[in-house]
Amino acid sequence: MKKKLRVTDSDFEEEVIDSPIPVLVDFWASWCIPSQMMIPVIDKLDKEYDKKVKIRKLNVDQNPKMRNKHKIQGCPTFILFKDGVELMRKVGAQSENQLREIIDSLLWPAEVKKSKKSYKEVKIEK
């Protein structure tokens, strides 16, 4: 996993809650095999969404505070935050397409639907 994707109890507020752009957080654990297998997908999405959406990973064993605060009960759990608010939550391994669809449809529903274009081609209004 890329180092820069790691988020912890101490920088969660700054990195996720106060982020000016939406953040997808993968709450994961080393003992959870599906979590482990998500790593390459997460890395790939991070590259793909670049500055439009932030992708972060939080290890639930190392960061009990955020795990408890966000009531994580299964791994992996994906939460999409926008303006510090939880927009969506998915539990269990997700395919690349599923994650992409969720992010796209929640963040740019109308534009994506209307133009039938991918998020890359849709201009984002802040």
Binding site: K3, D9, A29, S30, W31, C32, I33, P34, S35, Q36, M37, M38, P40, V41, V60, D61, Q62, N63, P64, K65, R67, N68, K69, K71, I72, Q73, G74, C75, G92, A93, Q94, S95, E96, N97, Q98
Partner: protein, 509 residues
């Protein structure tokens, strides 16, 4: 260095017991609420068993690169005087690894009950490279290589208490588990042998997992599985490293699910392979229930005779079996070439398998030991450096035997005593070792086969092959029959080479 950024979180010297709450997820809502109420949710802490002076500290704050206990070596950072225990230290791989690790400065301990020697004796065969008794081996390791091995004769299945005492005494920081019966045909001889193999392998390993839970939960188990667990699916789908990747999806009735992290289907081709599949599940569960750490090594067929250390003195040699039960294919082919038996292909002879030379296998194991999994992590590596069909292999062995050693080598097809696909696609994924552990194979097939010819043509070894050559042609049928397989055809090497060249030419057009 592939493991420079690993932290104490990965290190076996850490003491996490009671300090990290791993049980936080996947629990009932009630349990979860209770914990929420109780927990202060502060920073997690740990203690180091090697550096108690650190007191309580954040286990993610020190990397292997920064820690003085982890020292740079040829295969990544390695824990200074790392205590490694090898289960099955007297075997073909176990002995070679003991010397290999000892040479790298590890404190190597090992157990064995000499069962490999017993099985071979029971079948009336012998190792064609003579090996010494354990006491002489240990003495030679000391005298020649200045390596002290801490050996204890223990049967891990039937003497669990003794194994427990030994583990408690040594407190190994990694356990390499080679202590199983590795033969498909041996497990197919009859009911007694099948029951024995499964009991020895599955239950022996299960007991060892409990010992780890109770005594060394932060230690990793590097467990030998086999590529054979996967079988050879005729669809040609990839043979992933144990589990499906997250972008593998199940599509059904227009819905889609990720298969990420689920164990891929297994299709073991013998009761021995089935025992390895059962091991896989037992280890997955142990990691899940108790946060044990394990690498399950799906090993291809290992061949060869050489590492620097086993070649250092005749008393340090590791065994080499060529009989139908314990002789693996390349080792068997070379022996056949030397005593003038046409190399035997089973059935069509188009079976494809993954392979790796002995020395490269040692490198892989070292890299896995040096880069331990995280708590609870179960990971799989497909350990092979390439793959070949049996026919290609036979040709390679025959060519080297003929050209370099002037041996008249032919190849024969015989009836296939096994139940297996004789022609099949083969699409193995073996990226973890090179990508995550920095593994690079250094021994080529041709090079190692050449070394084998060099050694096995020596008069004392050649005569040992002659003596037991009647055990090479299989008599153990998966059907239960007990008869020697019949030859279907014998072909000369020149003709076979001409045929494959013609084929290649026509493909080119």
């Amino acid at each position: 260095m592939h493991n420079k950024d690993s932290t104490c979180w990965n290190c076996p010297a850490i003491d996490l017991a009671g300090k990290v709450d791993f049980r936080a997820c996947g629990q009932s809502v009630e349990e979860f609420r209770k914990r929420m109420d109780l927990e202060d949710s502060g920073q997690i802490v740990a203690e180091c068993k090697r550096r108690p002076d650190l007191g309580y500290y954040d286990p993610m704050s020190i990397t292997f690169k920064e820690c003085p206990e982890w020292q740079k070596g040829p295969y990544g950072y390695l824990l200074r005087d790392m205590r490694v225990m090898i289960l099955g230290i007297d075997g073909y791989l176990g002995w070679a690894l003991a010397l290999w690790l000892g040479n790298l400065g590890c404190q190597v301990s090992g157990v064995d009950n000499y069962s490999r020697r017993d099985w071979i004796k029971e079948r009336g065969a012998h190792t064609v490279i003579p090996i010494s008794r354990m006491s002489a081996r240990l003495k030679a390791a000391r005298e020649v290589l200045d390596i002290n091995l801490n050996f204890r004769e223990i049967d891990i299945l039937n003497e669990r208490e003794r194994l427990k005492e030994f583990v408690d005494e040594v407190k190994p920081e990694a356990i390499v588990h080679y202590g199983e019966c590795p033969s498909a045909p041996y497990s197919m001889i009859d009911a007694d042998h099948a029951v024995y193999v499964q009991k020895n392998n599955v239950l022996g390993t299960l007991g060892a997992l409990f010992i780890m839970r109770d005594l060394v939960p932060e230690t990793s188990m590097i467990k030998l599985g086999t590529m054979g667990e996967y079988g050879t699916p005729l669809t040609g789908r990839p043979l992933y490293e144990g589990m499906f990747p997250a972008d593998a999806v199940l599509t059904w009735k227009e819905q889609e699910w990720s298969l990420g992290g689920e164990l891929t289907p297994r299709d073991p081709p013998s009761f021995y392979h089935t025992s390895k599949v059962q091991d896989t599940y037992n280890i997955v569960e142990a990691c899940k229930y108790w946060w044990l750490r394990s690498y399950d090594v799906m090993q291809g067929v290992i061949y060869g005779v050489h590492t620097e250390h086993v070649s250092a003195d005749p008393r340090l040699r590791t065994r080499l079996d060529i009989d139908e039960w314990f002789g693996t294919v390349v080792n068997r082919f070379v022996a056949q070439a030397i005593v003038g038996i046409p190399l035997t292909l089973y059935g069509a002879g188009e079976q494809i398998r993954g392979f790796m030379a002995l020395e490269d296998a040692m490198q892989c194991m070292t890299r896995l030991i040096a880069s331990p999994p995280e708590p609870g992590q179960y990971a799989v590596v497909n350990q092979m450096s390439g793959y070949h069909s049996m026919r290609e292999l036979a040709k390679t062995v025959a060519k080297i035997g003929k050209k370099e050693f002037n041996l008249p080598v032919n190849i024969q097809r015989v009836e296939n005593p096994r139940v297996e696909s004789e022609r099949h696609p083969f699409n193995p994924i073996y990226e973890n070792l090179p990508k995550k552990f920095g593994f690079k194979p250094i021994v080529s097939l041709e090079e190692e086969i050449y070394r084998m010819f060099e050694l096995l043509t020596q008069p004392n070894i050649k005569s040992r092959i002659e003596e037991k050559k009647h055990h090479i042609i299989p008599k153990t049928w998966w059907s239960g029959e007990k008869r020697k397989v019949e030859t279907i055809e014998i072909f000369e090497l020149e003709r076979e080479i001409a045929r494959s060249e013609k084929k290649a030419k026509s493909h080119g057009q």
